[in-house]
Symmetry: C2
Subunit: 236 residues, 2 copies
Amino acid sequence: MRAAHDLSIRRRETLLKGMSAVVALSDDEQQQIRTAGSELREKGSLIAEDGEHRRSSFLASGWALRQEFLADGRRQISGFLIPGDPLAPFSYLGEPVSDGIVAITPVEIVDVTHIGGPRSARLLDVIERFNLTVARDHLQFYRNQMIRLGCHSAVQRMAHLLLELHSRLMRVGLTSDGRYEFPLTQEMLADALGLSVVHVNRVMKQLRSAGLVQQTGGKLQILNRKRLEQLSEYSE
Amino acid sequence: MRAAHDLSIRRRETLLKGMSAVVALSDDEQQQIRTAGSELREKGSLIAEDGEHRRSSFLASGWALRQEFLADGRRQISGFLIPGDPLAPFSYLGEPVSDGIVAITPVEIVDVTHIGGPRSARLLDVIERFNLTVARDHLQFYRNQMIRLGCHSAVQRMAHLLLELHSRLMRVGLTSDGRYEFPLTQEMLADALGLSVVHVNRVMKQLRSAGLVQQTGGKLQILNRKRLEQLSEYSE
DNA sequence: CGCACTGTTGAAATCTTTCAAAAGCTGTGG
DNA sequence: CCACAGCTTTTGAAAGATTTCAACAGTGCG
């Protein structure tokens, strides 16, 4: 029990790291976030449905994805969520979650509106500002996704996405030496990149045998960032 | 001179129509917008560049597009702007214009921050609320674009886009009987839909000869909305 | 052990692009 | 008014990228 609680608090550090990079948090505020209530969801579960309001929910640990289905069963994954990401980055628009959010791994979700205590008002204000900055980033991720789908070849799409994920994970301290946890199946990659599963497989093979990336034990490593960047015109 | 001024004010009505559908405007406020200063730009001109702040600029008349170039010359058009649309729908994020905006036709741009007068403060507030609602719509257009690029075949993409444009134009009163002004070249369509110009041509031909749309004299008409909708799974 | 899911591979089919050329259209200057 | 340049649309044929179909190997789990 105690151990589980500690683990949960340790996971919260990623979220705190992401927030601290953007807004200043007092020790007290950090402590409030550390001890805020959280929700655990298992791998594969639907975290939020289309139309739900999740104004102040953040992913504290684990990965998730945003998906939309077409009538004929095709699915578009519009993006991936990593620790530190808000479930509804555009919530201040009054915009509810606009598509399904599904847990890719077991996830922990912190809803900061459930934080009580004397200084919670100011904390919510800080979080609002954090939200704004993060929303700007997510707008950029949308644009990245559009560039990939609209302009890139299959190999470029893959390279570009792998680089984007690396950048994002690095910012919250979840990379080491170009290597990061990689829980995405080839089917998810296919639905995100607008490719068939079979082709994703071939493209990954191509990147691997060109010595650009390596994949072992659920982790992915960027071996030649420079080549990947020029291949996919990735910037930043 | 007088004639040109009248024309300009008449054009402003489209913008007003768009705004009135969303927020209540007093006669006085409508008058302020009617007489607000405007900027005219000729066809083909760059209206705003990446990084520019255009917090309160709206297209009063004409069409424009949002584009981003890759190093190798490929271009992604992320969306089209029609009368009533803001140049920077996500400006309250502190987000500057994030890509180039180019005039497709001669355009008139109203910057509502240039409105003076006693009640301008309240008007700005109203406009801010309008902005929020419109931003929500534009988020949807982004998602539409992602679905097109990620899940649709060439014919579906085209059908879906033509339907979206029709819906949007209808909302500001710029359609009649399924017909609307259509200033887009096949090259623009290609860059928006992630297709080659040649293929766009063939796809249009296909839609025309299937009796689904008609194109004459710079106008496009939806002939069989129902079939187009089921073809592209367009909803709303 | 067997089932369900994920990854891998080959071959054929399909969609889309590229290349090349020509025709239509528009505005400009002689 | 014609000629011309420049842009847009159109068409055919060949090349290329990606998908589909089908089958099989690996892995984890009850």
